[in-house]
Structures are given as structure tokens and as C-alpha cells.
């Protein structure tokens, strides 16, 4: 069976480069730990504190996080394809150059997070809080923005074809006029 790190105090430890695919983390305090370069594919995390952890360059494909604190965590260059973050606190998370195709942020707090240069195509951000989020140079094609406060984020030089949202998009004229993106407005459910 896979590693079981449930209900543990693991503050400030360095797990760099370890193969931890499919590990379970439930109800643990894992603040400030380093997981750089780790294989964490299929990781299962619930109701844990992973504040200010370092996941740079790690593989988190199909990882699952719910009700987990990840505030200020670093995900630069990480593989987060089809990962799920349900009801998570990811405020000020750094996702620069991460691969986030199909990622799922249901009802997450993402205020102040940075997604510069990230592929978020087909991602779900539904119900999430996006105040001050930077989506600069992002591929946002097919992203589900419904029930978010997406007017409070930064969308310079994005691709947004097929994105889902209610009302007028915040990137409206700028993106179309600049020719940087083809935009299709789909007016939600």
C-alpha cells in the first residue's frame, strides 16, 4: 500500500525528490515542508495544513486536495494536470509555468495567486474567489469561471476561447482589440 501520512505533525521537513505517488495525507500538519521534484501523482490530501509548502517541479498529476490549507505554497513548473482542489485555501499560491490542464478548483480561495504563463485549458474554477489573481499569458481556453468573482483578476495576453462565465467577461475589448486571443462568450447555464 502507498505511504500513509495521516494525522501527523510533519512541520518543516524536506521530502525533496522522493517517490510518494498515491500517498495519503489526512488531518496532518505539514506546514513549510519541501516536496520539490517529488513524484506525488495521485496524492490524496484532506483536511490538512500544507501552508507554505514547496512543490516546485513536482508531479502532482491527478492529486486530490480537499479542505486543505495551501496558502503561499509554491507550485512553479509542477505538473498539476487533472489535480483537484476542493474547498482549499490556496491564497497567494504561486503556479508560474505549471502545467494545469484540466485542474479543478471548486469553491477554492485563490486570492492573490499567480498563474503567469500557465496552461489552464479546460480547468474548473467554479465558485472560487479570484481577487487579485494574475492570469497573465495564460491559456484559459475552456475554463469554467462560473460563480467566481472573476472581474477582480488580471488577464493580460490571455487565450480565452470557449471559457464559461456569467455576464460580460472582464477581458472583453482588450483581448479582442489586441488580437492576442480569440474569445468566445458563452453565457453559462
Amino acid at each position: 500500500m502507498d505511504a500513509d501520512l495521516s494525522f501527523l505533525e510533519l512541520v518543516g521537513l524536506d521530502f525533496s525528490g522522493l517517490a510518494m505517488a498515491g500517498a495519503n495525507v489526512s488531518g496532518s500538519h505539514v506546514r513549510g515542508c519541501v516536496f520539490a521534484g517529488c513524484d506525488l501523482s495521485g496524492l490524496y490530501v484532506q483536511e490538512s495544513d500544507l501552508t507554505a509548502c514547496d512543490f516546485r517541479g513536482s508531479v502532482l498529476e491527478e492529486a486530490f486536495f480537499q479542505k486543505t490549507a495551501l496558502e503561499g505554497s509554491l507550485f512553479h513548473g509542477a505538473d498539476l494536470r487533472w489535480a483537484r482542489f476542493l474547498l482549499c485555501d490556496v491564497r497567494r499560491g504561486q503556479f508560474v509555468d505549471a502545467n494545469m490542464e484540466g485542474v479543478h478548483f471548486m469553491d477554492a480561495q485563490l486570492d492573490g495567486a499567480c498563474f503567469e504563463g500557465v496552461t489552464l485549458s479546460d480547468a474548473v474554477l467554479r465558485g472560487s474567489s479570484l481577487t487579485g489573481v494574475r492570469f497573465v499569458n495564460c491559456d484559459l481556453r475552456g475554463v469554467d469561471f462560473r460563480k467566481t468573482n472573476f472581474h477582480h483578476a488580471d488577464y493580460a495576453s490571455i487565450l480565452a476561447e470557449g471559457a464559461l462565465f456569467y455576464g460580460k467577461p472582464p477581458w472583453g475589448g482588450d483581448v479582442a482589440a489586441g488580437g492576442a486571443a480569440e474569445m468566445v462568450i458563452f453565457d453559462g447555464e
Binding site: M1, D4, N24, Q46, E47, F64, K67, L86
Partner: protein, 292 residues
Amino acid sequence: MSIAAVKKTTLKPKDYKSDVSVVWCPGCGHYGILNAIYRALSEAGVDPSQLISISGIGCSSRSPYFINSYKMHTLHGRAGPVATGAQLARPDLAILVLGGDGDGFSIGGGHMPHMARKNVDMTYVLFDNGIYGLTKGQYSPTSRPEMKAYTTPYGGPEEPMNPLLYMLTYGATYVAQAFAGKPSVCAELIKGGLEHRGFSYINIYSQCPSFNKIDTIEFYRDLVEAVPKDHDVTDLGAAINLARQSSEGRAPMGLLYKADRPTLDQRMHAMVEGVNGRPDYDLNQIIDLNRP
């Protein structure tokens, strides 16, 4: 003959995920149990083409949609009888029944003892969140009296049932318990259930953050105690004593009881063999006896 006859594979847990997106409330413990089921199926090497997952109605009864297997989403509380029929008709397949506490012990409560006493060769995973979640939060057979729900605004007037004691009493031959906060333990017990020949019952506590505000992951963490290392899983009396802890504010986590007993399909097969595969009676005569 259940998993013993099922072709072994070396698939990874993610290979058991179907294309259907999992839709439970954020924070639900069922995600952990489903994760454990994927791992258990992978560890046991179950061929998805020889697996049937069967459910009744409820949040947890959506599970078959999320598993790469043949599946039947049946009527409320009737997963067990359907699974019994499937097992008798196709004893060469592995049968996995998935459901909740209301589905299993209230609406389907009349069926549970009979699956246990008949020792139907199947694995029954009960997602016990102490609430009817799909219908937005009503008191269930395993709800604690302290829980206030729409149907019990002042708390419950009755004691919860004890699923482990119930299954042990009625003759289940594999009885285990875990909680969703420990998916690794859940996976190990489910794998054991899949490999056991006979009726396997695995009770898994699961938090429902939307409607059950008192049975949190912290509550379950403090409630459960690992089954003692020296516990004899063949000792029914010892298993019953452990199961009774649930009435005393503690709950055992692990395998409580395991026994070898002929399964329903084995006994049926022996009967058919006993008459050389042919009935020694005339069915038409029996029908004639009952004509008005």
C-alpha cells in the same frame, strides 16, 4: 467464484477510474473511500471486465458510475438482493456492493441479515456518514442522538444501531471497520474483503460536512481505535466484544472477524450436483398441485 476465479491484472488505481466526473460535495469523506476502492481493486488485481459494482440510492450509491466496471444502479435499499441474484447467476464474477447507512440499514434493512446468513459471496462496502445526504440531511439509523437534522430539530429520540454487531450476529463471515480519514486502512480492508470467499462487510465512517456537522474527521479520528494486535479474528465472541465498544464511545478499526463457511452459490451448486444436474421432480406436477 468471486475474485478467486477472476482473471488477475496489474492495473494501477487510476485505471479503475471511469470517465464520469466524481460529483460529491467538497469536503465529503466518500472521496477517500472511493480512492481506497481504486487502490484495493488494483492491489487485488481485479479485472474490470469481471467486476460488477452494484448500488441502491444515496450519495454513496453514485459510486458505481465512478468505477471502471460493469454496474447496476438499482432501487433504494435493493442493491443486496440484486447483487445476490447477480452472484448466483454469474459466480465467476466479483461482486462489489456500495451504499450508505440509510440505504443499507433502513430502506434495505430487511435484506442485510439474509445476505449475511446466506453467506452470499460479495463485498459490501457501507459508507456510514450517519445522515441521509442526498435528500439534504435527515436522521439515519446510525445517527447519534446529539445530531440535529431537519427531521430531528431537537436531536434524535433514539439510539443508533450498531452495524458491526448486527452483521456479526447474523453470520457475516468477514466483518471490518475503518474511517475515511485513513484511506490506506480502508484499502487494505476492502482488498481483504474482495479476496475473502463469502459475505464481506466493511463499515467505513465518512464525514458529511454539508449535513452532519458533528461527525467530523476529528471526531472519527478520536473515536476509532485499532483492533488489538493479539485479537483473534476467528473468535466470534472476541469480535462481538470489540463491536460492542461502539456503544461505549469507542469504535474498533481493522478486521474484527473472518470465518470460512460454504457460500450460497457453493451450496446451490452442491444441490444441483446432488441430482446430477437435473431436477428429480416434474415442475408441471408442482404447478398442477397449486391450480385453483
